[in-house]
Amino acid sequence: MSVLDSKVPKGSLKDKWTDYKNHIDLVNPANKRNIDVIVVGTGLAGGSAAATLAELGYNVKTFCYQDSPRRAHSIAAQGGINAAKNYQGDGDSTYRLFYDTVKGGDYRSREANVYRLAEVSANIIDQCVAQGVPFARDYGGLLDNRSFGGVLVSRTFYAKGQTGQQLLLGAYSAMNRQIARGKITPFNRHEMLDVVKVDGKARGIIARDLVTGKIERHSAHAVVIASGGYGNVYFLSTNAMGSNVTASWKIHKKGAFFANPCYTQIHPTCIPRSGDYQSKLTLMSESLRNDGRIWVPKNMDDVMAIREGKKKPTDLTEEQRDYYLERRYPAFGNLVPRDVASRAAKERCDAGYGVNATGEAVYLDFASAIQRYGIEQAKIHNITNASADKIYELGAAIVKAKYGNLFQMYEKIVDQDPYKTPMMIYPAVHYTMGGVWVDYNLMTTIPGCYAIGEANFSDHGANRLGASALMQGLADGYFVLPYTIGDYLSHDIRTGKIPTNTPEFDAAEKEVTERIEFFLNNKGEHSVDYYHKKLGKIMWDKCGMSRNAAGLKEAIEEISALRKDFWLNVNVPGTATEYNEQLAKAGRVADFLELGELFAKDALVREESAGGHFREEHQTEEGEAKRMKEFQFVSAWEYKGEPKDAVLHKEELVYENIEVKERSYK
């Protein structure tokens, strides 16, 4: 039997969570006052968990590397948040959201977790509205919805193109209320550098104050990791510059299994890169695919003419354009899931049809939407025989109201007006479905150590649907963890405060301090970024949108060699007792250099294509991903020193409430 116990409750799918909640052990309010919880990361998952746990009465400490919890990268999520409210009466239900999510994840997620997520999704919207989150409304005063990829209903709630910002500010406001009461102590500009285990349980962390450099010991009865994903292993991604894997990686090295590292989402609509100096990539929300049509020229002559500046995209007639998503996937068209849309863009660009100088861009065109909205508005305003200019003006106003901030962002970066000429887009690393392995309780394989939000692996399988990350982060933090952690903490009511003057804390602090001293004394010849960029290039070239065995084997060798070189030759300036960004980065890149190799190893072992993981050896004749029945399991890796020594454990995935079939969007 597998060493992994998912602890999924017995009973029918729709009753599992309710029955579970009815039978867990609770902690009485007086005892909660004697229990401490550490939350690392203050995005949607961490922020909402911290606020709720503090509200329940636990003493919470939060840690974030930013100067305020409000700046966690959840803030950059644009499009929206899914919930099975069925306000549109278009046939949505808890089951359908569950079904779409499991199918969207290419049948590689855990049924019971996904169903629970769908079940609590409606509560999230109620909760956020009560907190004052200004979701978009229609003229009657009811909440408005839009559609996202991979589904046939409108269940996405949004606040302009800034939904993540508004939801995070909602969670931050709930935190603020608890900070004011003294129930949350925030440690901002702090970074967790290790977890401390006592008698096998997570009992605290070692953190570094990023301003003074001071190494601190913090104890607690449970530790919650909510530090997000590891997309920055690619150097270039849509993640924030500071986003890192360190907290997850440190618990991995202390016994938490790391699941499905190779499942990475390459988002189809990002602004193409422009040069070697580029520090990050910018996402253009998937919501744009509600109204934008994706195309490249049909004829190579037109491609060349456009690249040479002899033709403009608007010069091409409808017949000269290849709306390749509409052509290949008539049922879902431009709203196919992200993995499918990204691969289709890569396929066209690899075939030579890319429309910019680097050959890595396709068009996202709003001309037909502007036209369609313009005609509709002319009718609404009773304008007969409206001129083409008038229709354009009316239509552009609607598009501006829907996506204005995204269009402005595009214009500022690219210096082109997307109302007048199609946007250029290309896929970029965006989200990581893989992460720390957790059971149904969201607990890792270290007792008392939890992982929530993007940091865990649980809900999205091999591909995440749009607007589901916000849903999962808030579901975990507001509605799931507060129950499951109580069941664990009910055994800690007599434990008392965890002391920090113990050998376990001494040892963990010593390890952290020695590593910092090593970096500062190394005085090598290359900067931290030099290594990060090299790692990113290996990852993108060999573990990117498509992968093959030969490339993955090379990646493993190259990353391993790069890591050796890093430890010999990295140069970190400054001292340990000051604000030193290079030093902080050095530690993060060191961890990425280990994760990257495990990532490639995981991708090599997974001899199938599933969701975001596309193995060239495993595709159908039409070039679609080909899943293998024998790989219907979660890969959970146990740390044993070097990544090459990591041991694979399998959690078999069982589907009792959904038929596993070919994932078709045609």
Partner: protein
Amino acid sequence: MNLTLKIWRQIDANDKGKMVDYKVTEISEHMSFLEMMDVLNEQLVNTGEEPVAFDHDCREGICGMCSMYINGEAHGPDRGVTTCQLHMRMFKDGDTITIEPFRAKAFPVIKDLVVDRSAFDRIQHAGGYISVNTSGNTQDANATLISKHAADEAMDAATCIGCGACVASCKNASAMLFVGAKVSQYALLPQGQVEAADRVKNMVAQMDLEGFGNCTNTGACEIECPKGISLENIARMNRELLKANV
């Protein structure tokens, strides 16, 4: 293009600080301002000098972390953008660019261009929330109708990213645009009415305690705000405060 940078260097909060000149070459006009700073820092690290510390994170204009005062303007010469979205095409070959931290008594310098904006957090702790438990057992989200107009206006106020450009731009280092935006978001929504009076009083009191100045309606904050937060929010905050005190 080739540029001369005059950058504020300050070791820590106790250091007096000074402007230091640097040269950067072969800067592409497609680079963002912070990518230009990355080039400078890489250059400094490779020549054994201490890189310039500056705050930055999302690099897409939404987290509010970046905070430079460029050629006498918060977030530089472009409008409606944060420093991370400012592009080098706004500058010319041979330009000299002055780069300073956001300056205000309530924003002490931590190092170089990094300042401490925790005063903003403390103002929010004083009342920047609606006191509703996160149990999920609230009423249905559609139970209270909210007019599209009110929802949109609340959203416009809520779009503030808390960067502090308003404070840095104000000759009085006033935080009223920031506080006004938060007060307005809740004042415009029915959910915010219950605590409206206490909220505005507590937030304004904390704002004063932190050492921010008063508003004298010069409007510099509105012009420099990367998110276009309107001065109307200050007027609304003042009305709310008046209402709360009568």
